[in-house]
């Protein structure tokens, strides 16, 4: 009787062991799959919404040929997508409100918003929409796209630096950011007024911060 019980127990153990051995759900395999899926998600193209509070757009222009004068735009909106493994999947779509131009002088702001410069009532936004993104080094990307300023759209190519990304907790969420500096000629966009007094070349610097959606 004892022998029968022992034999039955061994048979049951063997059956369980056999079933476990041939089970399609191997815990180790499952763990590996989960890790791979997470890695794939990191590489997937992620959408970010521009955080207007932590995004900065400033510009500089030569004044009277003696110094650079700086100003900023206080309202920047837009979105971008991020895929560091596959940059051609990345895109940028950024808008700046021209009437948010701020040079720390109310009358000069009014002048800049007038038809002499931005004509902010008729052309309320400056926009950049990327067409292609290519990696050009460690954390740098060559971004080609259309810049629309003063109602004139021109293709430009800029070098963007990928500054960083990370989960910044519940308050800030997952964030990523870029920095870009590029120079345009305002006359190319039909902004010719006060040439000489003000330079033709305008350097625009944008620190772009986005929150993952």
């Amino acid at each position: 009787m004892k022998i029968r019980v022992v034999m039955m127990s061994l048979l049951a153990l063997a059956t369980v062991a056999g079933l476990t051995a041939f089970s399609p759900v191997d815990p180790q395999v499952t763990n590996t799959l989960v890790t791979n899926t997470q890695a794939t998600n990191t590489q997937a193209t992620e959408a970010y919404k521009v955080d207007p509070v932590h995004t900065t757009a400033i510009f500089r222009i030569k004044h009277l040929g003696v110094t650079y004068f700086y100003g900023r735009f206080n309202e920047t909106t837009g979105s971008f997508t991020l895929n560091t493994e596959n940059p051609c999947e990345m895109s940028f779509d950024v808008q700046i409100k021209t009437q948010s131009v701020d040079t720390n002088a109310a009358n000069r702001n009014n002048h800049l918003k007038s038809p002499d410069f931005f004509n902010a009532k008729q052309f309320p936004t400056i926009s950049f929409k990327s067409k292609s993104v290519q990696s050009s080094g460690e954390n740098t990307y060559t971004v080609a796209g259309d810049l629309t300023l003063h109602g004139v759209t021109k293709p430009i190519t800029v070098q963007m630096e990928f500054v960083g990304q990370g989960d910044k907790g519940q308050r800030f969420g997952y964030r990523a950011g870029f920095d870009v500096t590029f120079t345009i000629k305002r006359s190319d966009f039909g902004m010719n007024y006060m040439q000489g007094m003000l330079g033709d070349e305008v350097t625009i610097m944008v620190g772009l911060e986005g929150v993952r959606q």
Binding site: Q99, A105, A106, N107, R108, N109, N110, H111, K113, S114, P115, D116, N119, A120, K121, Q122, G151, V152, G190, N192, Y193, M194, G196, M197
Partner: protein, 281 residues
Amino acid sequence: MLNTIVLPVVVPMLICGAVLIIAWRLRDRGRLIRATALGLGYLSCQIIVDGWPAFPPHETWQWLFALVVGAMVIGGIDAVGRRPLILRVIGAAVLAGMSGWLIVLANQEHLWMHRTTVAALLLLWLVTMHPITSRSRGASVSLPLCVAFVGVSLVLVLSGNAKLAQLAGGAAACLGAATLVAWWRAEAGLGCESIAVAGVLTIGLAYSGYSLSFSGVPAWAYLVAVAAGLAVWVGALPQSRKSAGWKAVTLTTLITLAISGIAVARAYIAWRADSANDPYF
């Protein structure tokens, strides 16, 4: 300095003055040419300030170039023959309607109210100014209008529209040249054939300045600056007509100056309010 002030003032002045003198030399055959004096002077100013115009224009205010050409055509038709009143009113209505349509921003809030206001103001200008200017001689039109345009120019510059102010200044320079020519030869001065150009410019520039500006200058200041030009009517009053020509012109000009002064003073107050710690301009 040369490009900002001297050229946009001197060149239009010379062109307007030269055209008026040529028209005077041609006597009756020169009436059509005289109709183009103010318009050609202004067009030269816009080219100097803003470059050769594109068609269609990129910005709404740039339509003034084409509208001035249209106003010159209407003035020319006025100059070469007497048209029935109804045709004159239709011509004025078409010009006013086109002005309201073209210089008002398509994305303007209360779009039709703006368009109607611009068209109605221009129509009012043309209908009221034509009878008086058709009877006037010498500097009785050009001098008060010159003062009114200087007022419009000052209001525009104080509201942060330097380019539009330059254009109004160019028109004022043309009218200044016309005044000098009229003092030299009374019959060589501007007449009714230039009133359409003056109307398109004063209302077009003031409206563009108002609608495209971000300054605190209120709408009524622009309106008063435009209305100053209507003081030309003072010269047509019976009391003025009885007095000597120079007295009537002086009185009209002083009234224009006073009305313009109200507009400029209001614009200056707004400019001061925005420049507490700001030495801009």
